[in-house]
Symmetry: C2
Subunit: 390 residues, 2 copies
DNA sequence: TTTCCAAGGCAAGGGCCCTGACTAGAATCG
DNA sequence: CGATTCTAGTCAGGGCCCTTGCCTTGGAAA
């Protein structure tokens, strides 16, 4: 077994595949710090970590600048740089301090070595596949896009990742993936839930991507990544498009649940026509608003529907909101997806009839909030993985 | 402002009261460790911390035993004990190693000094008030109980806490409180939600208890504490008694939401008679199962009700379970409260008709799970507060 | 060319921990 | 009852990491 350890995340180096390099996880899962060596090479490691962090923030620094920035002495800074250079994590850029700075001796600029590698950020959805390689600074190094037919998603994913891999000189230390379908938290696979629209289809991104990446592959639902990108502590994101979903952020962290299916609200009971209780997704079946032959909602038809139908839908959404309030107590609720913001007026009215009130906002129609969240996670994990191994 | 910092918790030293000692919070909220001094007195602090932890675990140890236990050298252990003794955290117990141990020189047993203090664990519910003082080892030092009339809850709480305070020689460093009503996460007050049973009533435990305690006062709902005591990573606890509630544990942490009202499921929509959508609590009104004159459910009447009514209730609970599954994705659901386990068979049958399945368990009828959770939290916070200030 | 001045290196010193040897002191053995 | 045995605690020496203070280096300004 070599599951990813870091707690707040969905997971998944493939358990069985021997071809997968997958992070070695040296010397046992380190508990908070105190489990570490009782001795004082800990403080050296800490110094090195601070040097790396300073170089992430400032891109290039002389040893004197490092000392000033971190608050350590010059000899210590010099020693740390020497150690890190020896390990290949830091390199002399060859640049020297510009003459303009003053008259003193010129300093040598050091920066993180390219060998520290990059991270892959991948989004998979009905609108296509985007794979992108980012460096520690958060800059894009390379990217590739595909718009495959539904049957070729797996192959196209492999192509895109392979292309990015070839375009990237650095090693790729991990991948973070967003998929537009429910993701099984344990295996990282896309799963089909009964009666839910299945936009991407059967897919095991971990198995495909692992071959091109040296470390863990993290997969999660796009709605979760979009929610993570909001940077709020307690809120809920209601996704109302061809599929139905929700993401819940509590105490600053995304709530995933035991199998990662938190927010799959299709089967939530709510109010249907004539006040009957009905599963949320079934409402659209009854109203004839599902795309024929699929499980997806027919959004264009929905948008053209009568006022009465829209009221009915909004009332049902109100029931979903009541459930979200009861079970997640968000500070506010963001309504997104292809038709959610379209009905925001009716939904607000329906929510106003609930016993507990929560502010509702329509999602800003930004490009793709999920990819923002994926990128942020990829960068933060890349940085963590660098400082993790001393 | 002096809100408690530690993230995973509901909070509340009173903001305004100048009479409140309330923890000083010295030198800024320390981030994980790296924000600490860059130097190596950090490792000394770490050593001291380990000594304290070892003394918590073993109660009394000689310096030689400490060295062996922690894995440090004897001189280092001796130095640490000297420092800690000087600071009043550790004391020579006067006990000496028993002759039976061997023939060598007798050693001096050291233990944590009484001055490190204790923690208050308080439960407030319709069945009464219990205040209890615990020491670092988790042993009860003193306790007091009250069974006040509803109008005297505040006064009785003050009495009980005061009594425990007087019985305790040690300083009391913090209090953890369980209350049988919804707790506002920000203020720590008990809040009345529309149409919910309000068992304890208007109360501000923080304001009352603060006067007797040197540190923070943490208040939360009893259902949350009961859930926390289960020690599982991802599950939900459904409380079905005179009041209705739920607690959600995700990734090992209790979910509270922005105002602490996560799990207040009274207004969740579910299936009522004739398949109509109805708020969970209203069902009991329609069935005539609410105590006259109150908002509480009449449990004896409920238990005597007909099979049809029980089926109806179980179906409604099934709807609540569907919502919990959709929005929390628990590994399993524990059903507790005064009538939940009573209907577990019917509820299981209703849940079996849902599209997604989750194992249901009846809560073990242990004494009071909430007080277990409160005690555990009090002890763990007490220990953390000791090791926190070096 | 000389002067200036910051970068970088060297040496000394302090703190913390470790190892190994020594002292202290009580129980057990002969 | 003294010698032996064995362990608690202390002392001395040494390594590692960091700091301060001073010196050297080497371009730019004068």
């Amino acid at each position: 077994m070599n599951f990813e350890r870091s707690q707040p995340a969905p997971v998944s180096p493939t358990p069985g595949d021997p071809a997968v390099p997958s992070s070695p996880d040296p010397a046992g899962a380190a508990s908070p710090d105190s489990a570490r060596a009782p001795s004082q090479d800990l403080v050296r490691a800490l110094t090195d970590e601070r040097v790396i962090r300073a170089l992430i923030d400032h891109r290039r620094l002389t040893r004197a600048e490092l000392a000033a920035e971190i608050g350590i002495s010059k000899p210590t800074a010099g020693e740390s740089v020497r150690r890190l250079t020896e390990r290949g994590l830091v390199a002399d850029t060859g640049e020297r301090t510009p003459g303009g700075r003053g008259r003193g001796r010129v300093g040598s600029y050091y920066a993180l070595a390219p060998a520290i590698g990059g991270a892959l950020a991948v989004t998979i959805g009905p609108e296509g596949i985007v794979a992108e390689c980012l460096d520690v600074y958060g800059d894009g190094i390379a990217s590739a896009t595909r718009h495959p037919e539904p049957s070729r998603v797996g192959a196209a994913l492999a192509e895109a990742v392979s292309e990015v891999r070839d375009l990237t000189p650095q090693p790729i230390r991990l991948a973070v993936v967003s998929a537009a379908d429910p993701v099984d938290r344990v295996t990282g696979r896309l799963v089909q839930l009964p009666d839910s629209p299945f936009l991407v289809g059967e897919l095991d991104p971990v198995a495909i991507i692992c071959a091109y990446v040296d470390g863990p592959v993290i997969v999660d639902n796009d709605v979760n990544w979009a929610a993570a990108a909001q940077g709020r502590r307690d809120f809920a994101y209601l996704y109302l498009g061809e599929g139905l979903g929700a993401a819940i952020v509590d105490d600053g962290g995304i709530r995933r649940g035991s199998s990662g299916l938190t927010g799959e609200i299709s089967h939530l009971l709510t109010v249907g026509p004539q006040g009957r209780a009905i599963a949320f997704i079934d409402l659209f079946g009854e109203l004839g608003l599902r795309k024929p032959g699929t499980t997806a909602i027919d959004v264009p038809r929905l948008k053209e529907s009568s006022t009465a139908v829209r009221e009915t839908i909004a009332t049902a959404v109100g029931g979903v909101i009541a459930a979200v309030i009861a079970l997640a107590d968000p500070e506010d609720i963001v309504v997104g997806g292809s038709w959610g913001p379209f009905l925001i007026g009716e939904i607000r009215a329906a929510a106003a009839r609930l016993p507990r009130q929560v502010p509702l906002r329509a999602a800003a129609p930004t490009g793709s909030p999920a990819s923002v969240g994926v990128r942020a996670e990829a960068i933060s994990r890349l940085r963590a993985s660098i400082t993790a191994d001393l």
